[in-house]
């Protein structure tokens, strides 16, 4: 018997077939999904966010992370394009004052309820919390903290210099550098040649000389403080540092020279805590180097804060909204922060995480202790070189002056200080 199919039956059948996937979707409409962009694609950063994605998937979510390799600004270009196109990611990397600036161009998610439910506000440094709720409501969550002025000492360079004391003040630092030079370390200061590298030398110098002036001059842009003697002193210290660096690095990334640092061709490195992750990822051991807080003339640790964060952009889709809630919960979770920081070498945002256990390095413990001390003595300040103190435009104008000064030894510290004040005036 021939099978006869009327047109009506065919239509009904195909309609049902078409509707099936939609029905299946409706059944699991709560399956959380997250579209995220960040600059973290490779190395320890890439490994950490991949691990975070795994946790997200373990909780039943769909993890859609699109990394944009390169500097943060390149990730921002993609973010800008997506926002202009009306299709922002559910969540993106963004930090510092940029959170406030960007939150004005597209609607963000109000995270107050989920933050309150986790009791998170109590365990975050107040200065840091302020950056993540620019209009009074939480719209972004810090993920991990770095200090940009950690001092890395090469063990073998210390041996060459016959030194075992970790320098505390800039005078100690300068003395050790001279000893290293005398002991046969070709370049007592290891470095890269990128703009943030040069910026870090200056911010470490100034914050170490006077955290108070750093706050008024760099964070609050006080004109008088910007022309004060501390700024000149900081530039003078930067000149010393620059003279100890290898001039041949050109525009290389700091990580290019890590091998020379470990092998005592270079001695000390002023770098963010992330260098620990990079060193470990490159196969070097904890025995090869020492991590200590950057030099501080008053003896108490100065902490130049750099915190990575996620901002959450408003989406209508139910699955993306569920994904945002899940992501926010994960980012605040002490276990997740522990996992993340142990991979990247940062320290957790939560001040209640215990770092005494296995998996943490001495450097991380020292960093966390330094943060606590620095907060107590009001010496935790926001990093300029890593876009925490000012918005990008102002930061770039200041770094222009600093990077030119580092590379041009004919500029006097006084001239540099004047130019810095001028750059701030014209960029304001």
């Amino acid at each position: 018997m021939p099978v006869t199919t009327t047109r009506r039956q065919l239509l009904a059948g195909s309609a049902a077939a078409l509707a099936l996937p939609a029905f299946a979707r409706a059944q699991s409409a709560v399956k959380p999904r997250l579209t995220a962009i960040s600059q973290w694609s490779a190395g320890s950063d890439g490994a950490a966010i991949t691990a975070l994605g795994k946790k997200f998937e373990e909780k039943g979510g769909v993890w859609q992370h699109s990394p944009v390799p390169g500097f943060t600004t390149e990730m921002m270009n993609k973010l800008r394009a997506q926002i202009i196109a009306g299709d922002p990611p559910a969540c993106s990397q963004l930090k510092g004052p940029e959170i406030a600036a960007w939150s004005k161009i597209a609607p963000t998610v109000d995270l107050d309820a989920v933050v309150a439910a986790a009791g998170y506000e109590k365990v975050v440094a107040p200065d840091l919390a302020k950056l993540h709720k620019p209009a009074g409501k939480w719209i972004a969550l810090p993920l991990q903290i770095y200090s940009t002025n950690m001092l890395f000492l090469s063990k073998r360079a210390m041996d060459k210099a016959k030194a075992d004391k970790i320098p505390v003040t800039w005078a100690d630092f300068n003395e050790l550098a001279e000893k290293m030079k005398a002991g046969g370390v070709a370049y007592p200061v290891a470095n890269g040649g990128t703009r943030p590298d040069d910026g870090q030398k200056f911010e470490a110098a100034l914050a170490g000389i006077s955290p108070t002036v750093y706050r008024t001059a760099i964070m609050n842009l006080d004109t008088k403080a910007l022309q004060g003697p501390e700024i000149k002193a900081a530039f003078a210290q930067v000149r010393k540092i620059a003279d100890w660096m290898d001039p041949n690095v050109g525009a290389q990334h700091f990580s290019t020279n890590l091998k020379r640092f470990i092998e005592a061709d270079m001695g000390m490195m002023i770098m963010g805590g992330w260098a620990q992750g990079v060193l470990r990822n490159a196969g070097f051991k904890f025995e090869d180097f020492i991590i200590a807080p950057g030099p501080s003339d008053n003896g108490k640790p100065v902490f130049l804060l750099n915190a990575d964060a996620f901002i959450f952009w408003q989406r209508k889709e139910a699955d993306l909204q569920a994904g945002q809630t899940l992501m926010a919960q994960l980012v605040m979770d002490p276990a997740i922060q522990t996992m993340y920081s142990q991979i990247t070498g940062s320290i957790p945002v939560r001040t209640d995480v215990d770092l005494s256990g296995e998996g943490w390095s001495d450097g991380q413990r020292r960093t966390a202790a330094a943060l606590k001390d620095a907060i107590a003595s009001n010496q935790a300040v926001l990093s300029l070189a890593h876009n925490m103190a000012q918005e990008n435009g102002l930061t770039a104008a200041m770094i222009d002056v600093i990077t030119e000064y580092v590379k041009n030894k004919t500029i006097k510290p006084e001239q540099a200080a004047t130019r810095l004040a001028e750059a701030v005036e014209s960029a304001r």
Partner: protein, 306 residues
């Protein structure tokens, strides 16, 4: 049958139909790219008069963006560099290309291989050129280290990290990249010189040097102008090469206008100022292209009248 009849009565239409693919092939892309170019140029010009920062916004700030950009140290350094880089690069690549072309023109063996070798750099992207030269020119890794290792310790070649000389490293890399292009154009020019002219010169007893100077090279000057214009517009818009080679450094010593535009727009999130810098670049470009267009126009008029 009807088709044949209709073609007979309306030949013009059928011709149009037959050539439709050709028209489509030429006009659609041409109009699209022209629309793109004009629309985005106009848009950029508009943005340059607005207070746009992170994203484009409307508003009017007059010439403020232009004043700020022109007064900025970055732009001044970039503009000076462009003058130096542009003239040095165009002149030297012209000379290198011409010398290579004349040498290749001697009916030598293996000409094809040599020509490919000299043209090959053109097939490499600027980022690759910049990166490779940044390693070669790095005194701690490249040429200087090689010579040191060979025993000549006092040898110095550290232009890459010398702020006064760093711009010349970009000239070197750019010449390496594009003198092959100049060579190819000149070679074509040399080959198209009327053989009778050369014969006549030979009969008159002209030696090779005299022949090049008096007979062949004067016929090359239209090609020379073409090469100059193409290389100049390349020089003005140089971006990827310098970004990979020095990234504007040491410090900000090798800034070029295109780097300033990118920096303002995307690193500093100052769209209005970036657009103003881009319009300034367009004006520099027009300063080169308009005289060229005028020259072409005069040439054509002359050809028609003659």
């Amino acid at each position: 049958m009807t088709f044949a009849v209709s073609t007979a009565t309306r030949p013009a239409t059928s011709d149009m139909v037959r050539r439709l693919p050709e028209y489509l092939m030429i006009w659609v892309p041409l109009l699209l790219s022209a629309a793109h170019l004009i629309a985005f140029s106009l848009w950029t010009i508009w943005i340059s008069f607005t207070p746009s920062t992170l994203v484009p916004v409307s508003g009017w700030v007059g010439l403020r963006n232009y004043n700020v950009v022109i007064a900025s140290r970055n732009w001044q350094i970039a503009f000076d560099n462009l003058l130096l880089f542009g003239s040095a690069f165009v002149l030297l690549s012209l000379v290198t290309g011409l010398v290579l072309a004349i040498l290749l023109d001697q009916r030598i063996r293996g000409e094809n291989v040599l020509r490919s070798i000299f043209l090959y750099p053109l097939a490499v992207s600027f980022v690759v050129t910049g990166t490779v030269w940044s390693w070669l020119l790095n005194p701690g890794l490249g040429i200087q280290k090689l010579v040191h290792d060979l025993g000549w310790i006092s040898f110095r070649f550290d232009w890459l990290i010398d702020r006064d000389m760093a711009i010349w490293t970009i000239v070197i890399a750019a010449i390496w990249q594009s003198s092959g292009f100049a060579m190819a154009l000149f070679l074509a020019g040399l080959r198209s010189v009327d053989a009778d002219l050369i014969k006549a010169a030979q009969i008159d007893g002209a030696g090779p040097i005299r022949m090049y100077r008096r007979v062949i090279l004067p016929t090359l000057w239209p090609i020379t102008i073409t090469v100059i214009v193409i290389q100049l517009q390349f020089a003005i818009s140089t971006f990827d090469l310098v970004r990979a080679l020095t990234n504007g450094g040491p410090g900000i010593a090798t800034q070029l206008p295109a780097l300033v535009v990118y920096d303002l727009m995307f690193q500093r999130s100052l769209l209005g100022r970036g657009a103003a810098a881009a319009v300034l670049m367009l004006l520099i470009l027009l300063a080169v292209l308009l005289p060229y267009a005028a020259w072409r126009y005069v040439q054509r008029r002359r050809a028609i009248h003659a």
